[in-house]
Subunit: 412 residues, 2 copies
């Protein structure tokens, strides 16, 4: 059983709003074992919505339409469905009651165009909408199921969870579910990951697929099975195999973040951390403190852009700054040690580099970033050369700083 989703709304085509219903619906259907093969966005136009419905019903068993159920002339989904299937629109007494009740309960005047919201294609059932005037519509026709839902995200999401999923699960006698396991890596590129697991990428069930964004690569293992337990059984050996090959880089799974994992390790090991940042400008501290409970292991940080601040606040030796320059491995180490001493922490991180777009030179180009770590007196430093714009360079630097910390927390 597979589905296609159609999202109506000219404002999405114009980029005035981001279609957040799409990701939500995709996630919910996957969890329910219903494959979504295609999402289509079309404007508030009768012909194009009709065409989208006709395209979808050529292949999909379930056609879900979001939006276009309101009272205005721009709201055309019910008309499009009726025309596509050559059905009449009829007034649905329950839908009419719903509209009337909604207006009455809010002491609002019902205008005649709201009556349109009581129309459904003949044979359709309505889906109750507890938070708006527009009922949803459910129609079984020619062995296909059509579901029309209101577009506002809070109405759409509530109705997907409370009405659509139970309804589809009733009809889903195959009972197949899709389960994914995500392995998250950093400090390694997408093609290196792919090369390492090349032989695992051709399976049909489970499948393994790589995905990357700056500073992170994920491998997603996805299994279809008739129970979550069975799916897990199919995923586990693959996960084990991948972990063996890439163990130096896999820091977490599913919803894990690097800062969350590092925080958990710091808390477990009863260690404290402090940060001294130059080019990242507080991003590392910000990420660490996004984790609730971080105040128990994060003692604090400094953002020291100027040489004076590095000397006066962190105790960096002015001779090193002069001899090696502010962007140097020596200064990264000295900043790590400096903040560790000032804050009285077990571990200090020091970051210095050139985030750009200005400030680069042939010897020290934009993207050159040194990350220093003082781990209870043991010093580490890493040279990086990142590509991209300022915020991407900052992000990759923070990712690498947290990775260096993670690696050392795992060792000890």
């Amino acid at each position: 059983m597979h589905a296609e989703a159609i999202f109506t709304g000219t404002e999405m085509l114009l980029g005035q709003i981001t279609n957040t219903n799409a990701a939500f619906l995709g996630e919910q259907l996957a969890a329910a074992g219903i494959s979504l093969y295609r999402q289509v966005v079309v404007g508030d136009n009768l012909e194009r919505i009709k065409q989208a419905i006709n395209n979808a019903r050529k292949e999909a068993d379930i056609i879900i339409v979001s939006g276009g159920l309101g009272p205005t002339e721009d709201d055309l989904s019910r008309e499009a469905l009726a025309e596509a299937l050559n059905l009449r629109l009829v007034e649905h007494p329950e839908a009419l009651e719903n509209v009337k009740r909604y207006f009455k309960s809010r002491d609002l005047l019902m205008t005649s165009n709201n009556l349109k919201q009581a129309l459904v294609p003949e044979g359709a059932k309505i889906l109750n909408n507890p938070v708006g005037t527009a009922c949803g519509i459910f129609l079984e026709h020619d062995n296909k199921r059509y579901i029309l839902l209101p577009g506002p995200p809070h109405e759409f999401k509530l109705m997907v969870t409370e009405q659509v999923l139970p309804l589809l699960q009733l009809h889903n006698n195959k009972k197949e579910i899709i389960l994914s396991r995500i392995l998250k890596m950093t400090n390694i590129g997408e093609s290196a990951v792919e090369k390492t697991v090349k032989d695992l990428l051709h399976g049909q069930n489970p499948t393994v697929a790589p995905l990357s964004k700056p500073g992170q690569v994920i491998l997603r293992i996805t299994a279809r099975a008739n129970s979550p337990e069975k799916a897990k059984e199919m995923i586990t050996p693959l996960e084990k195999e991948i972990r063996q090959r890439l163990k130096d880089f896999i820091f977490g799974t599913d919803d894990d973040t690097l800062e969350g994992i590092v925080g958990k390790l710091l808390a477990e090991k009863n260690l404290t951390l402090a940060t001294a940042e130059s080019c990242t400008g507080g991003l590392v501290a910000n990420r660490i403190t996004n984790i609730s409970g971080s105040s128990s292991y994060f003692l604090g940080g400094m953002i020291t852009y100027s040489n004076e601040a590095k000397i006066n606040l962190l105790g960096v030796d002015p001779y090193i700054l002069k001899a090696k320059g502010a962007v140097s491995p020596d200064v990264a180490e000295a900043m790590a040690t400096g903040i560790r001493n000032v804050m009285g922490a077990d571990i200090g991180i020091g970051i210095t580099g050139i985030a750009g777009p200005g400030g680069g030179s042939p010897q020290k180009p934009v993207g050159l970033v040194y990350i220093g770590l003082d781990y209870k007196g043991k010093l580490f430093v890493k040279k990086n050369l990142f590509a991209g714009q300022r915020e991407i360079i900052k992000w990759q630097s923070s990712q690498n700083a947290l990775y260096l910390l993670w690696k050392n927390l795992n060792k000890s």
Copy 2:
């Protein structure tokens, strides 16, 4: 001339990532006067991408495909285009050079699967990608234009603006354009904004539409006209009227950010800034340093979670901490003054509060945040009570700190 956009990526169908390229592309095409009639999302599957391209070319003049240009076996857009049009894939010497150069400049080892990124359908040109290994592909075939772009949002967006729009504008002869002007506000809620401009929300051309997210409300004025000058003429009087009504809250327009506007004012007035953050954990410093050139006015910052750090590093009076508690207006002010003194800045910001989810009490609930400002010795403090999760509370705190600074920079 109209376009269709195809976004490839199974992770979008599964709801694992939100398709942010779609809104961006829609906005950019609209501004360039190119209608986007349909957006389609399909998985990483050769047949389905091919089918999407074939569907699109039945109607659209311009077919834009996002994603699937990476080095892995999941990356299938170039193959799909070649098969759809019955063209061979050939190695493009310039694309090969680009891939090699990218790896060389970063001292990375190029693996053989990266060579795939040098393939293009015969007759295609490449579109340079300054921030990644995957070139874009531009092909004119049978009076249609095909544009393939890498999927990672920072690559996609840069290439749309820098390569695709100039290329399409060359070919666009219709000339009706859509122009939007965005007015950005903070420190005011959406319903207050809506109430203030209620009478302006019903126009057909130009239109005015509100949109809000935590800590920010925008009003978008959109006009259709046959020239940018004409559209601007239609927008200007409306913008003037709105500015008159909401001038205390409108900090910027279009792509402006609050941190960018504040930075510009600091640079213009030749003033320096330092930050002392507790509950925001470095977020304010991070946002300020996202602006290139911020090192000329941002002297540095501290993240002081503990009382000891507040006392020893910022010179906060321990008696105040004891008498009023760390989350108090007095401590916010003392942090602002402390960091101003330590860094030798003209302006100091101090933030103390409870970001949650733990640490709240009936007297001092989660979301209580004090923001202190020491503006050349003049003290201001603002009490806030924010709702939402930890990161939302941090974000709103940073937004309000920058707003307080912005207001005072405008006054002086």
